[in-house]
Symmetry: D2
Subunit: 366 residues, 4 copies
């Protein structure tokens, strides 16, 4: 078991290394009849891609998706959907140095300790390149969720280092290279990121992701909680160090009388729960906040050891993101969409007898 | 699938409701030869139990564990270990009112939306009573981890509402009813909790849990990440709204040059990673921080709806915890121990050929 | 992992040893709302029980089922159903001899090789006593399958040693101690079994099991084939050495023009497929045939080795079945019912969008 | 869930249709360090391929395996191994007729009933072309099993229609187009198959597969039995209708005193168990026998219905195997090798503490 699969009933298996010939995935458990074509992957893969602005890694990948199976005459058949993306900009270079020493804070060391062997080319399997396939797989999930339930999933960056949005305008998010919800701060962020890049250092970021129109009743109460699965999903993304649902850590400081979301026939009075109570969706927006650490591949020298345990100083060259969180919203959206679709299928498996859910409390916060 | 099992290779399945005849669990995948007896469950179950101080629910359960299977002449045989605990203090009372209306912030509503039927007695399956069996199962995991690797797992409360420890003394933790690491603050906490209880309200808390002596190499890189599994494990505990590994959300504000843990033959210079990099343990302490929301069962009235969707005002009577996080350290320890043992088994399944790990970098922070 | 769970979405976990305090199971994934009470387990547990005639083991167990969880006011709630059966006739005796030597053909030796430790009391975990819980769990599955789809599952013995039924009368099966479909042969079988019992030897048997009214479309095409899961389910029963679906091994000698089941608007012309084609049910009866070996616990001496590898002669005393297949029809029915219900849930998870199936070809053979 | 994955710890996921652009698989859980190159897949893929003699389908596929991931400098890294095989001889033709009517005995009808949509090109996902990837995946398993334990797995055809081998010469098996163990019968088989092919009909076959040098202790006692997993594995192969372990159905007619395999310090006196007792390997050869039905794609007309439920007569043209069992030995070997490697990993996960197994009874039959 090395667990490169995700989900119970909608099950995505990914493979491929950063600088290998290709990356790919198999999406198993898709309901039949979903309309999908290679062109449909373009938008979200572009949103995730490097090289779209000077603030991300300058690797330029074509990210052309080939549908290998599971689709016939433009619709899923119920058979596994195989997707393939060739790596086209994996620069050939001498890996001997990077193979010999471990970047501090990077998975180099832990992979080597685990397996006794390591693919050093571009980070190998530990590269965020793997997340391409998560985004691709979720294109199908997003479509199904929207077509069937009207569900939309939207992520944005809500903090870069110490900078937070002053306002929130959903329409602004896709209009700048930072998925930032306040257009008035973009110039400030450009300047900040330019200075950071020149310094050779990196910073962390926070990403918020929300799903609208999730019906009540999805999730399972104990170890298959909707929030538990979301937490695992987000924590499985490279560089993530924390996950919150709803009020998250702020709920520590809340009174119960403040935190609980009062209900009336007009709807919920608030959404501190983040749309999940007892592991099951309540009908409100499902909200999640994710912490991305600063990337560890820096141009600043740092102490480390080599494969013989000898002390060395390491400097990382090559193409890297100074703030990996900047490209993360589509990835967080992808993981949320995959979790939601998986739970939609799980719910109807067990509770298909219960009949369609008619919520007593409208989901939206007035 | 309703997913009342936890773990891949060490697999714990729990069952039982708060006011049903019994709760229990089946622990499957235990290595043979582990010494275990009914008496061994006593200490941790007592640490978790209600009614030990006036600051928790006043339900008094005997929590007597009966070993039903899987142990012969005091040792595990490799067969599934069945454990049973009879409920002895589930008060018989009239549930008709609680069955008709939904406490805001409680799983009452979401269970009802999901299943169309609900066991209202003491919260039914959604009660924290279920966590008794997690703690019991983890007694075996803790023993195996310690006997084989010297691993210890220790949790403490690191925040109650806005109060944080001023100092840290590991020896103090078990000496007060709050798992609090600074004895000098206990009187203050007593007063705070007394006032809270009288007010009928509740507060949140933070729990930190750390595992010492975890060898490098445990965890799986993509969807079976050690931190991903820890996040799911912690989020599966009742009332949890957030999980951090290592520096967690604070890493957003860190520079990469600060966050990365430099390495030398003398050891790591810091532990912002929380002992996990790329989903795999590094040999440092594995650290996790968990946010518990304030409980929703309050004596303060609140707006809600009944099963017919009509507006009503609800007041929760009965025995409840004003701060459920106060009893949570043994539960968080249990989940971490179960995750670690599961990953120990998973690691040797795949990487048993690699041979024993000899870390190049000592794990402890100097 | 020691894999004491069965099924994907309807998941049964069993525990307990032959002579331990109790056996039990947890049934996870039950749809809510199924009516069930302790008394409902009586009929099928009696059909499976020993001691009902002189032709089976003379162990007399009460087989009283206690429902520990998952049922409220007579209906399943969606929470895991815990069932417990105390062992009441596990005779206390000296196990020192049986613990020291291995019965040829018995799991004594392989358990000892695997685990290095063994519970020798009554066969421990390897005893057919474990199948009690399969039968109990399937009571719920049978009820759901019948109430929702009209499915019935019926098993009978179709061969004992070299004796086969001369005729087939479904009404006769439950009227004799052999689940035999031809009442005219019962006296002959009584005499055969009496002589066998006196000889101290044992014989094998064949059990056929059929499910009526299974809708088309259940099963998954590759590794989750309905017939693949049935094969695993039947082979998991103690003493089973072979499984056939439909024509089974006889299909080797058939021409394709004979084997294929022709279709017309009036129905299928034959059922050599056993109701499963390409891993998916066709709408015809699902038929399965299972081979039970002769039990290995004999009163006839046999060569073996002891735990030190020394040669010894072993004679098995105690209460044993001379033909374990005689009690197997309810167990085979149970496994088929559990597989079918699991696949019903799996089918609606993935294909709930497809809508209700309206078969083009009636299932029954004219 | 549509369950295109196989195995618990060594997990193979396949995708692809008969006439789609490619087939492929992901092998997850491979131990690191296994030497593997594209050329290593050649031998077994050739053994399985069509078009090698006039007695199989005349489809000629290149079956070139591209390793997409998981291998670095000729060795597995522990990351998932992605394999891809382009379909090169999928003839473009008009599928309109085959899409409109259902071949009797073929998965056409059941797929259509399940999914409401069907890829009719060459049988789509239900084609035996999928087994190519099983054979490819098992090349790695066979290598690991042999290098680590000296295990070899060998299959042969043991019956075609009514013809059985007169003698058994292991050396003969690979020297004829029938995997037949008696060279003296090859001419007879050639004549039989030529006549069959001309008739437009098909026949069934039996395949035996045996694994040598399997250590005792592999397998899990209840639902993860080694024989249970083998039964599912074999039954998952296209056209299989029956599976036997050891004496199989013949054990019905045996006395217990005959069936049980006596043990002595010199070894086992027989192997009726097929090397598995109580679900766990005994150290003897693991033996399995598999029944393949006659293929349903015949040039002989047959009654069926079309997608509107109307009666039609169908004749299958195109390239088909008159006896699909003739190519099945490498596929059966593959499934056995995958099951064995999976269980080797599962065994050391749980029982790695027990230490290396030293059998008391030599495995070979004297």
């Amino acid at each position: 078991m090395s667990d490169n699969s995700f989900g119970r009933l909608l099950r995505v298996t990914t493979f491929g290394e950063s600088h290998g010939p290709a990356i790919g995935c198999v999406i198993d458990g898709c309901p039949p009849g979903i309309a999908i074509a290679a062109v449909d992957f373009r938008a979200d893969l572009d949103r995730r891609a490097t090289g779209k602005s000077r603030h991300t890694s300058q690797r330029h990948e074509a990210d052309e998706v080939e549908i290998l199976s599971g689709v016939y005459e433009g619709r899923t058949t119920g058979a596994p959907v195989g997707l393939l993306v060739r790596n086209t900009d994996a620069r050939s270079k001498d890996y001997s140095k990077i193979a010999e020493q471990f970047r501090p804070g990077h998975a180099d060391y832990t992979y080597w300790q685990k397996y006794g062997i390591r693919d050093p080319r571009g980070g190998g399997r530990s590269s965020a390149r793997e997340t391409t396939m998560r985004v691709a797989a979720a294109v199908i999930a997003k479509r199904w969720l929207f077509d069937k339930y009207g569900i939309t999933v939207q992520g944005h960056v809500s903090q870069i280092a110490g900078i937070r949005p002053r306002g929130f305008d959903a329409a602004a998010i896709e209009g700048n290279p930072f998925f930032w919800p306040d257009a008035s701060q973009v110039a400030e962020l450009e300047a900040f990121m330019d200075a950071l890049r020149k310094s050779g250092d990196s910073v962390g970021a926070r990403v918020d992701v929300v799903a609208h129109n999730v019906p009540p009743g999805w999730g399972e109460p104990i170890y298959g909680k909707l929030d538990g699965d979301l937490a695992a999903a987000m924590m499985s993304i490279n560089a993530v160090k924390g996950v919150e649902i709803g009020a998250g850590f702020a709920s520590i400081g809340q009174k119960g009388s403040e935190h609980r979301d009062l209900m009336s026939p007009a709807g919920f009075a608030s959404n501190h729960a983040g749309g999940i109570v007892g592991g099951i969706s309540s009908g409100q927006d499902v909200t999640c906040s994710v912490a991305f650490k600063p990337t560890s591949s820096l141009r600043l020298p740092g102490d480390t050891v080599d494969v013989n345990g000898q002390p060395v100083e390491v400097i990382t060259t090559g193409r890297h993101d100074p703030c990996v969180g900047l490209r993360a919203p589509p990835i967080c959206e992808a993981m949320m969409a995959l979790v939601l679709m998986d739970h939609a299928l799980r719910h109807r498996a067990q509770c298909g007898d219960v009949g369609p859910v008619s919520p007593l409390v409208p989901g939206s916060v007035p």
